[in-house]
């Protein structure tokens, strides 16, 4: 039987969302810093796809899939057009991303709660 990996998935998604929140906080704090370049995390879908692909390592020479931590922390320069001070932070799009992250986090926590309730119910029998 396949082990239930929902909790692993939700906790990884939650970690990704809080890291994204941190990156947005950096962008917003530096919204008026000359020369600052806005950044964003690579999408969670990429990290999740990487997790599903499990390579069996039966020989010492086999390649191992690289861990999530390195992939998640990847940030790429994004943001709007450069202003005359060399700053690329677009406050509107940062606020939009903030809203997205918040509602995705609420959905994530609700899912974790629902599955936890499910697990408890199955234990009670």
């Amino acid at each position: 039987m396949q082990p239930v990996s929902i909790f692993k998935l939700t906790s990884e998604h939650a970690r990704w969302l809080s890291q994204r929140q941190g990156v947005i906080a950096e962008n917003v704090a530096n919204a008026n810093t000359p020369g600052y370049k806005a950044s964003d995390l690579s999408p969670f879908e990429a990290a999740a796809a990487n997790a599903q692909l499990r390579l069996a390592a039966t020989q010492p020479g086999h390649l191992r899939p690289s861990g999530h931590a390195a992939r998640e922390a990847e940030t790429a320069a994004t943001g709007g057009p450069q202003s005359e001070t060399g700053n690329t932070v677009d406050l509107q799009s940062e606020m939009l991303k903030l809203g997205e992250t918040g509602s995705a986090f609420a959905l994530n926590r609700a899912a974790a709660k629902a599955f936890h309730r499910l697990a408890l119910a199955s234990m009670r029998g």
Binding site: Q21, G22, A25, L91
Partner: protein, 137 residues
């Protein structure tokens, strides 16, 4: 450090920096007519604030900090007012070169950025409380 707690701290540095910026702009506005006391004395020098993105080792994130507040002693206007105590031999008084429109625009922009940082704080707190709510059933 937890990424959500770190984002609270990052937003706090942004709030502090924008608050300092509003303080500098209000200093400039308040001293728009501050002249020297003796003949030919230099008036109030307009101040400008500059920000700098700095990597914080404890937070493992890029925060904002105030690089410095510089005064520009060369920025002044000459006005003719022979009865003024700071008037020189030709009856000219040095007054600060402060444009109210520029200062107001600066305060507006600082206000907007301050609100954005507050939104980040609000959202991070909501997310933290959602996680705490998992313990309630």
């Amino acid at each position: 450090m937890d990424a959500l707690a770190a984002s609270l701290r990052i937003a706090a540095t942004g709030l502090y920096a924008q608050g300092e910026r509003i303080r500098v702009a209000s200093e400039n506005m308040a001293n728009a007519n501050s002249t020297g006391a003796t003949p030919g004395a230099a008036p109030y020098a307009r101040r400008t604030i500059s920000f700098d993105a700095a990597f914080d080792d404890a937070l493992q994130a890029t925060v904002v900090r105030v690089r410095g507040v510089e005064a520009d002693p060369t920025a002044f206007r000459l006005e003719r007012d022979p009865s003024h105590p700071a008037a020189d031999a030709a009856g000219m008084v040095k007054t600060p070169k402060i444009d109210m429109l520029v200062e107001m625009a600066d305060i507006r922009e600082a206000n907007r950025s301050y609100e954005a940082n507050l939104q980040v704080v609000k959202r991070a707190r909501e997310m933290l409380s959602l996680t705490v709510d998992l313990m309630r059933t």
